[in-house]
Amino acid sequence: MTGESLYPRLEPLLAQIQKPIQYVGGELNAQVKPWDAAAVHWALMYPDAYEVGLPNQGLMILYEVLNERPDALAERTYAVWPDLAGLMRANGVPQFTVDGHRAVRDFDLLGVSFATELGYTNLLEALDLAGIPLHAVDRDETHPVVVAGGHAAFNPEPVSDFVDCAVLGDGEQVVGDITDVVSAWKAQGRPGGRVELLSRLARVDGVYVPRFYAVSYGSDGAIAAVTRTRDDVPARVGKRTVMDLDEWPYPKQPLVPLAESVHERMSVEIFRGCTRGCRFCQAGMITRPVRERTITGIGSMVDAGLRATGYEEVGLLSLSSADHSEIGQLAKELADRYEGTNTSLSLPSTRVDAFNVTLANELSRNGRRSGLTFAPEGGSERIRRVINKTVSKEDLVRTVTTAYANGWRQVKLYFMCGLPTETDEDVLEIADLAVEVIRAGREASGSKDVRCTVSIGGFVPKPHTPFQWAAQASAETIDHRLRVLRQAINADRRIGRSIGLRYHDGKPGVIEGLLSRGDRRVGRVIERVWRDGGKFDGWSEHFSYDRWTTAAAEELAPFGVDLDWFTTRERTEHEILPWDHLDSGLDKEWLWDDWQDSLSEEEVADCRWTPCYDCGVCPTNGTEIQIGPTGRSLIPLTPVAGAPR
C-alpha cells in the first residue's frame, strides 16, 4: 500500500541518534491528510537540516496553499543527518516525510526549495535515500516528478541531470497549475507516460523542463547554443509573479516546531521584491517589481499569526523593510497595539539610514535595546558606488552614533569582500570606519560599553545580476583581505577590543560560485562529490574544499574547462550564459549597461521614486509596482498572550 506510515520502522532508529525530535513531526499547525482523499501528493523538501528548513517561509507557504486544496496533499521532508541516514540505509528505511512518515517515493511530486546552491548534494542524498533514480532520464511514471524552486532555480543547469523541472519565481499560483496538470494526467490514466506529463508541465507558465532543451559548446568551452528539442515548449521560460499580496496572506497558520530552530520567531512578509538596485543582490533583481502588503493586511497577519503560534517575537520581513511606504505608521501602530504584552517586534538587517534607528526605537519602545544591524556591504564610498548601495562615510558614522546615543549597545555591520574592482584599500576602510564608529559611539553614549561587530564574507557573483559577468575573487584574495583587515582592526587595542570581527574564509564561496554560475557540465562534479561522501556543504564541519576541487578538476577536464573558468573568469558581453534562456524579466542589455555603469562608479536610482529606467521587468511580465500608502490605519485590538506589565 502506498502512503503507509513508516513510523513503526523508524521509531527504533530514533532511540539511537542525536536530536530525534526533528524527525517525529507533530509541529503545531502541521497536518496529515488521508492519502486516498487527495488526487495529487506533494512532498516538499528543504534540502538542509530540519532546524534550518522548518522556518523557511517559502516552504511553509506552499505547504499551506496546497493543503487548502481538497484534491491535494502536501507533506514536508528535510535533509537527514548522517547518523540517521546510516541507520536508515542499514535498516532499509527510505527518505520519509515528517508529517505522515510516508515514503517520499510514494508521492507524485517532490518539490525542493533551493535558497542556496550548497544544498545540491543534499538533494542527491535525499533522492538516493528515497530510492528515486538520481538521473531524471532513468525515472519512469511511477517515480515522483522532481521540481526545483527557490532563488537558485533561476539557474538550475548544474542540477538539470537530477531534476525533472524547475519553477521560476513566486510559487503560490504555479503549484496549483502543476497540481491541475498532474491531476488531469492521472485521471486520464497517465497517457504517454512520464514524457507526456513533463511536456504538459513544460507548457505551464514558469515551468522549465531541462530535458527538452539541448546545450552545445564551442571550442573555447563556452556555450554555443541552447535549442529546444520540441516545438511545443517555450524558447525562453519566464518567471511567475504574484500580484496583490493581500490576497495571499500565507502562512496563515505558521508551523511551530518543538525542536529548536534557527529562527525562534514568527515572520510576516511586508513586501516582496526590491528596486534599490544593489548590483550584487540576486534577490533584488529576480523578485521585481516591488509589491507591498497593505498596513491593514500586515496588521491582521501579525494578529492571526500570534494567536496561532504563541510566539513572542514577530519579524517584519522583506528585502529592505524600512522602504515600505507605510513603515513609520506601521511600526508606531503595531508598537501601540502590543505595548505591555511581552510581544516584541523586529526588523531584519537594514540599510544605513537614520530613519531605521527611529523605527528600531519605536519597535523596542519599552524593550531591551541590545543589538542593531546595518548592512553597508562595501567598505569604501567608492566601492559602495560600484555596488550601487551609496551612503557616505559621514552618514554611516552619524547613523551608528545615533543608535548608540539612543541606548543601543551593540551595532552589527555587514560587509562583503571580493567585490568587482575592489582593492585592499577598500576593505581596509572597514577598519577605519569601525574605529570611528566606536570613538563617536563612546562619546555619544558616555560609556565605554559600546560594541561594534563587523561581519564579512566573500562575494559570490550570481546569475541575473549586473555582476553575472564579473570575475569572482579567488579564495586566496578573500583570505588575504580578511587577514589585513583583522590586523588593521587590532592595531589599536584600546579601540579594537570593542570591535568584533566575524568572517567566513573564501573557500566555500568559490564552490558556491561554481554552482551559481555553472552549466550542465557541473552536474558531474556535484554527483562525484556526493559519491565521495559530500553532503551538508553549508556546514563547515561537513564541507570539504579538497573534495570539491578534486572532483572539479577530474570531472571538468574532459570538457576543457576548470573551476577557475567558472569562477575567476570575467565573461564577455556576448557570451551565452547558461541561464540566458530563463527569463527573470530583466533585459540582458540593461544588465550589461548597469555592469558598465558600475565599473565607472555610476549610481542608479530606485524606480519607486524616480522615473522607470527600463530594466525590462514590468512590461515583460505584465506586472507593475504595487505600493501605498493606502491611507488606512490599524484599529486597536485586544492582543493575544501575556499579562499586562
Binding site: Y7, P12, L14, A15, Q16, K19, P20, I21, Y23, V24, G25, G26, L28, V256, L258, A259, E260, E264, R307, T309, G310, Y311, E312, G340, N342, N366, G367, R368, R369, G407, G446, V640, A641, G642, A643, P644, R645
Partner: protein, 255 residues
C-alpha cells in the same frame, strides 16, 4: 546611563499552580528544552495570565522539576507556574491541555497550598516501567536477580565532564521482572541521585552483570515520581496540597 524599563514593575505572583503532565508517543523524543519552549508558547496561546520577572527581558515564572530523559516517555512530569491573576486550576488544566500537542497530556493541576513546603522537597524517586521488546521474562528475571544481589554495579556514563563511573545499584530501591504479551517488563523504583541514574544506566548494569543485551531499543516510561517512604511506596507529591484544600473546604463547611 543604562536604560531602565519605563513604568511600574510587573505585577506580583498571586497564585502558584502545580501541574502534572504526560509525554507520550512520538513526543517521548522531545528534550527538556523542547518541552520548555513548547509549554511557554502553549501558555501564551491558552491565555494563562502568567507572572513575569522584572527587567528588559521578562521571563514567565515557571519552575521545572527534573525532566525525564530524551527518548523516555512519562506519565509524571511536574512543573510549577506563577500567575498574576487567580484562575480555577481545572480551567487552566483544560486550556493548557487543549493548547499543547496531543502527545502531551495535562493530567492534573492543583493550587500550591501555603506553608506545605516546596514541590521539589516532595520528590526524590521515580517509578519506571521499561518494556524490553525481544526479551523474554526467562531472560530478564535472572538478570534482575543477579543485579539485586550485588552491592555495587558501576557503569560508565557520559556526563558533562566526560565519561564517569556511576554506581547504578545504589540508586535502585527496588526492581522486578514481569511479562506482558511476550515482552519482558522491568519495573523499578530509582532514587534521584547526582549524577542521575537513568533506565539506560540500569540496563547497562544488567548487561554488565548478566550479559542481558536487548535486540531492540527498550521503551522506558516514568510512571510516577514522589517521595519514597520506608515501606517502599512512592507518595503523590500533590498530597499535601490536596490535604490543605480539603481541610480548607472542611473549615468553610463548619462555618
Amino acid at each position: 546611563m543604562a536604560r531602565q524599563p519605563d513604568g511600574p514593575p510587573p505585577p506580583p505572583t498571586v497564585q502558584k499552580l502545580r501541574i502534572r503532565y504526560a509525554k507520550r508517543g512520538r513526543l517521548r523524543f522531545a528534550s527538556h528544552r523542547d518541552l520548555a519552549r513548547t509549554l511557554e508558547r502553549a501558555l501564551r496561546r491558552a491565555q494563562v495570565p502568567m507572572a513575569f520577572s522584572a527587567g528588559f527581558s521578562p521571563h514567565p515564572k515557571i519552575s521545572y522539576l527534573g525532566a525525564a530523559p530524551t527518548g523516555a516517555a512519562s506519565e509524571a512530569e511536574y512543573v510549577e507556574i506563577g500567575l498574576s491573576d487567580r484562575r480555577e486550576p481545572e480551567a487552566v488544566r483544560a486550556a493548557l491541555d487543549a493548547a499543547l500537542p496531543a502527545d502531551i497530556a495535562v493530567l492534573e493541576c492543583v493550587e500550591a497550598a501555603e506553608g506545605t513546603g516546596s514541590l521539589a522537597d516532595r520528590i526524590d524517586s521515580s517509578v519506571w516501567r521499561v518494556e524490553l521488546p525481544g526479551v523474554t521474562l526467562a531472560e530478564l528475571a535472572p538478570a534482575v536477580a543477579a543485579f539485586l544481589e550485588r552491592d555495587v554495579v558501576e557503569v560508565a556514563k557520559r556526563t558533562k565532564n566526560g565519561l564517569r563511573d556511576v554506581d547504578a545499584r545504589a540508586a535502585v530501591a527496588s526492581a522486578s521482572a514481569a511479562e506482558e504479551a511476550g515482552c519482558a517488563i522491568l519495573d523499578m523504583v530509582v532514587r534521584q541521585v547526582t549524577p542521575a541514574v537513568r533506565p539506560d544506566d540500569v540496563l547497562a548494569a544488567l548487561a554488565a552483570v548478566a550479559d542481558l543485551r536487548p535486540p531492540l531499543p527498550p521503551r522506558a516510561v516514568r510512571a510516577a515520581q514522589g517521595r519514597l517512604d520506608d515501606s517502599g511506596t512512592v507518595a503523590d507529591p500533590f498530597g499535601p496540597d490536596r490535604a490543605a484544600r480539603t481541610r480548607c473546604q472542611g473549615e468553610h463547611a463548619a462555618v
